[in-house]
């Protein structure tokens, strides 16, 4: 599944960078791009930097994870403007992206990953 990657969107720079370190540990071969904050110090998300992360990710199929609702809206806009196939999951940011990364690394198919993510779906 080398053509499936992960993008992580958080309102905060450190959260995104920290998740990157956490999941790199178990998924060194998975293409992961993270975006956190409007800048290193400003909290928020922006459509531009999400689109940038989508483009920078080597993979054409992306599993996307976010923290709070407003990140999701920007993610959806970026998805609509991108040619890549992007699936946004309403699952816990840290826990969901960790599971997806571990499974991608283990070579599990996207369908099977979605099955597992469904079990931790939450209203966000």
């Amino acid at each position: 599944m080398a053509d499936t990657g992960i993008i992580i969107i958080s309102h905060v720079y450190e959260i995104a960078e920290g998740i990157n370190r956490l999941i790199q540990e178990v998924a060194g071969d998975v293409s992961i791009k993270v975006v956190g904050g409007l800048s290193k110090s400003e909290i928020g998300t922006s459509f531009d930097s999400i689109l940038e992360a989508i483009n920078e990710n080597q993979a054409d199929n992306l599993l996307a994870f976010y923290d709070l609702g407003s990140a999701k809206m920007n993610l959806e806009m970026a998805k609509e403007m991108s040619d890549k196939s992007i699936t946004i999951y309403d699952v816990p940011l840290v826990e969901g992206s960790y599971i997806a990364a571990a499974l991608l690394q283990a070579g599990v198919s996207k369908d099977d990953i979605e099955q597992q993510l469904k079990e931790i779906q939450i209203a966000k």
Binding site: L38, E42, I43, G44, T45, S46, F47, D48, L68, G69, S70, M73, N74, E76, M77
Partner: protein, 193 residues
């Protein structure tokens, strides 16, 4: 609406946002994350700068510029929402002879498409809905706008960050409703000039 009035509209909206920046943030404190003033101020500063440097000479160019700047510079939920609103207006405005009320309505629909909010969820659309209705009947006044803003106070939030505090959101004006109020007050003023 033509491009000159449109530019004036944005200038007046910007003035109001900068003047009421602290109040917008204050509204976003009990039921949010205290950044709506900052968000709108940053977004509108960029819109004004872009107007000055790019000097749009059609309404279409103006709406495009507003859309991209709000989308990428606001930073909060209101970014993609106001961005979507102006994108919806841009699309509608391309149609021949479309009335202004229909353009604003298209903006409202885009906000709803993006944010999935319904009427009375205590969001900015609780201002947009009555404004569109009044526009359609040629009855939009400052009083109509103020009343719509105020009507968000008793509501319980069902969307956005305010929904996290549930019952506790009751009794506070929604910050996005207030900034939308400023947007429409500015529109009336620009049209009157």
């Amino acid at each position: 609406m033509n491009v000159e009035t449109g530019i004036r509209w944005m200038e007046l909206f910007n003035e109001k946002v900068q003047a009421e920046k602290d109040y917008l943030t204050q509204l976003d404190t009990p039921i949010g994350d205290s950044d709506h003033g900052n968000n709108m101020s940053r977004g509108m500063t960029h819109v004004i700068e872009a107007i000055e440097t790019q000097k749009p000479d059609s309404l279409e160019e103006l709406l495009k510029l507003i859309t991209t700047n709000l989308l990428s510079k606001v930073g909060g939920a209101s970014g993609p929402l106001y961005g979507s609103a102006f994108m919806g207006m841009l699309k509608a405005q391309k149609e021949d002879n479309i009335p202004w009320s229909a353009v604003i309505k298209s903006g409202l629909e885009s906000i709803q498409k993006r944010g999935k909010a319904e009427a009375f969820d205590k969001t900015m659309i609780d201002v947009w809905i009555p404004v569109v209705e009044a526009l359609e009947n040629n009855q939009l006044t400052d009083a109509v706008i103020d009343q719509a803003v105020e009507s968000t106070k008793p509501l319980k939030a069902k969307k956005g960050r305010a929904s996290y505090v549930g019952e506790r959101s009751i009794g506070h004006i929604d910050p996005g409703a207030y900034s939308s109020g400023l947007l429409f007050h500015a529109m009336l003023e620009a049209e009157a000039e």
